[in-house]
Symmetry: C2
Subunit: 490 residues, 2 copies
């Protein structure tokens, strides 16, 4: 829906609409959620369906071509994210029935808020060459600072500002707090803002709502009052009896906690890459090795070989940390965490190399079927998907590529229409198949197996994500030529 022409309501009219909304919910605390993306929009419906308090919720985003459609969608009765979690629809319908969730672009909302939840993105600008070597990166805080200033300029002095965004450690103390001090001074407000940080661990997919409502939360405030206010708020929306909250001593600690846990995961993924290459070279099936090691309770999170890493967090959070260490604390960079990003950025090139080595003859003109565009199984999320680099490389070699993904009808980043129906792409028109996402639709679809069995002649089959079952592999091996990334035993 991006780029559609929309009519943005006039200022005075919109402010009256917001005030009328709040007035129609007397006694309910007003929560404004800033940012209506993958986190904010879902957070907003969770708050609108809070477990232990009734809130009036206003979602706010920018009136830009990239964002305004989300505001419009919510007000028209449509969630701006699509997901196979049935709870999202249910929660959204409930909120519509209660009429306690609207969206706006108007900063006047902040003046009405008792709580402002900040769910906007803070991006890293990577400077990489065409082989995805990361040469440098920058963290541009200007948009984020502007967003904070718009809250500080309008909010009630008593409002709680709860930052959920993943930010460089130190951001609340060293960047946000001074902005509020400055704006409050201009407004003649004595005292400090109530400011806290609690990071989300949202996982788009079938457990989308649960990843907010039923999961551990870490939080902190810039002072005791702020931390208490965050706790009071979170207790009303999260199942804290089952998932107790953890309070840390400072917002810098919670900010660090988020980027540390994601850096750890990014590094654990990166680590397996060199072993993938070693195993392939030594004729070892790394999957059976990893599975054997994972029997140890201390090694359960050892990763499996794959195409690469995607999504919004693991691809940048380690850099936010390293940037903060240097820029906010005059310290050293974090070389291992940075290395994880660098290795993961380039990981899809390994699959490309395997394809080139196995096929041997020039790839120019070869027809490829790529199954999967999303970076994650069973979800349609293409943000920083590793499929992109593989696709670009094959394209650069002059391959003809057919893309299919049951969850992605339109590949936003590439502005490409994608076929969602698997069977309609299972023609005989290919030299090679690459499995690039391990969607259940591929793993459990008899049509795919049948097609491989009936395919006239020999196909090159590459499984980059270990998505083919033993049975299919057994079938294929007798008929086609194949390679599974991380398995040297072919």
């Amino acid at each position: 829906m991006t780029g559609e022409k929309v009519v943005i309501p006039d200022g005075r009219e919109e402010q009256e609409r917001l005030e009328a909304f709040v007035a129609s919910h007397p006694k309910k605390p007003v929560v404004v959620v800033q940012g209506l993306g993958f986190v904010g929009s879902v957070m907003a419906v969770v708050i609108a369906n809070a477990l232990h308090r009734d809130y009036a919720v206003i979602g706010i985003d920018l009136p830009s071509p990239a964002s305004y459609w989300k505001i419009d969608a919510i007000n028209q009765g449509q969630m701006p994210v699509s997901s196979d979690d049935p709870k999202i629809d249910h929660f959204f319908k409930q909120a519509k029935l209660k009429e306690n969730f609207i969206a706006t672009h108007d900063a006047h909302a902040y003046a009405l808020a008792d709580v402002v939840v900040v769910d906007i993105n803070l991006d890293v600008q990577k400077d990489s060459d065409e082989q995805r070597n990361l040469r440098g990166y920058e963290v541009d805080l200007s948009g984020f600072k502007k967003a904070m200033r718009s809250i500080a300029a309008a909010c009630k002095p008593s409002a709680l500002v709860l930052v959920e965004s993943t930010v460089p450690p130190g951001t609340c103390e060293k960047i946000i707090r001074p902005i509020f001090q400055d704006e409050f001074e201009k407004r003649g407000i004595a005292g400090s803002v109530k400011l806290g940080h609690s990071y989300e661990r949202v996982m788009p997919g079938p457990g989308y709502i649960d990843s907010i409502q039923s999961f551990y939360r870490v939080y902190a405030g810039i002072n005791e009052d702020s931390a208490d206010a965050v706790e009071d708020f979170l207790k009303t929306i999260i199942r804290v009896d089952e998932y107790p909250l953890t309070r840390l001593q400072s917002t810098t600690a919670t900010e660090m906690s988020k980027v540390l846990e994601n850096s750890y995961r990014a590094m654990n993924i990166a680590f397996v890459q060199e072993w993938t290459e070693f195993a392939e070279n030594a004729g070892v099936n790394l999957f059976e090795v990893v599975d054997a090691i994972r029997m140890r309770p201390t090694h359960k999170n050892l990763m499996r070989p794959g195409l690469g890493v995607g999504g919004y967090c693991l691809t940048k959070d380690p850099l936010l940390a390293s940037w903060a260490s240097r820029q906010l604390f005059d310290g050293d960079p974090l070389p291992q965490s940075e290395a994880a990003v660098k290795i993961n950025d380039r990981m899809p090139l390994h699959t490309f190399r395997v394809i080139r080595q196995k096929i041997k003859s020039p790839l120019k003109g070869k027809r490829f079927l790529l199954l999967g565009v999303s970076y994650l199984n069973d979800v349609g999320d293409t943000r920083y998907t590793p499929v992109e680099l593989l696709y670009d490389q094959l394209l650069a070699e002059g391959c003809e590529i057919t893309l299919q993904d049951p969850y992605v009808a339109f590949w936003e980043e590439k502005q490409l229409q994608i076929e969602t129906n698997l069977e309609s792409v299972l023609t005989t028109n290919y030299e090679a198949l690459v499995l690039t996402t391990a969607h259940r639709e591929y793993r459990e679809n008899p049509a795919l197996r049948e097609w491989l069995r009936e395919f006239p002649g020999r196909l090159w089959v590459f499984d980059a994500v270990s998505g083919l079952t033993r049975e299919i592999i057994h079938d294929i091996k007798t008929k086609h030529q194949m390679a599974v990334i991380g398995r040297g035993d072919f």
Copy 2:
């Protein structure tokens, strides 16, 4: 006992003794365990007390000054390892009662064996500068090859050779197998050796025996027969009902599995170092951050800050892997795995830097009490202990150092007598205390707390291993000056 003058029995006499031993155990398969160190000697008593078969066990080691004392000890009725696992004594006594375990230096033992278990060490020779920067390393296989040849030259053609040593992946296939082929050819034996690999996960300490008998095992053979023979053997000594065996496709896979799991752990430890420094710099208590993250099931093995890494495995196994990738498979080195060793090797320097920064005045002549020499809690194991580098640095600065460890009476590597009694070192004669091992004796000893409370004047207290309890820290903070590695909140 190293270096003591011993009388090594004459060849013919020793061979007769071995033959008499075997003859006195008719129908029992004979197992020879090669290498009587931390793994082999304990493995030998486990086999002598096998769950489901009676074996006659002969331990064998070299008649060298460094090793012969172990043979002598076993034959005199003493285990060559000391441990607080009561099962070790019990198992050893049982074996002595059954008279089914003796030790020898004589290679004639191999001629009597039905199974040879290889538990000898394969060392890495590191080339590091005095700041412990790893400049290079070598894997010298000559001793290991010689040991294999001595088995091949004498063993029955039908014997199973089971390698438990941690070796560079590819060793069984590319190094050991050809040695046996060669020796068998010389001996006119047709057919191949039965050769397998199954790595141990021995953990010295209170669960020493259980770490062999009650833990998961991964194994493989160079062919189906070999793998079957390994399985048959392991099933008789390991509780496979609770800890099922995992068979892999090749010995290269099991060899890789061992060094991969240790590299993973080494890297997970190394990873925390840059975050330790970041946290200290940003005023964050990294322990509370790590504890918060560890609530996630996927992040349970995130490590805590500490002094460094010791022991025989994590300090070298990643290098064995990288060496094998280059030397045995013409592949690339494994940079992340190598980096883990490099970072861990230097980790104690961080504690040294913190000490220097905090104390500020020159360290020369300052009197230090270092509590803990062992690299591991509640065990007296000084192999590659990180305490050594810290000790060396303090010594180089001209500090006077008192060492204490309840489990280490003699520091082998430094040839130093160590005080095992804590109270006798708790005098007033220090300017600084460094906790270097988190032994329970330190964590739970009221005498230590009392001493700190009564100490006349101010002491510098450094906790490098987070071994001090909250209560002690609370006491100390009001009286002494202190720093805990990984806690920026002091």
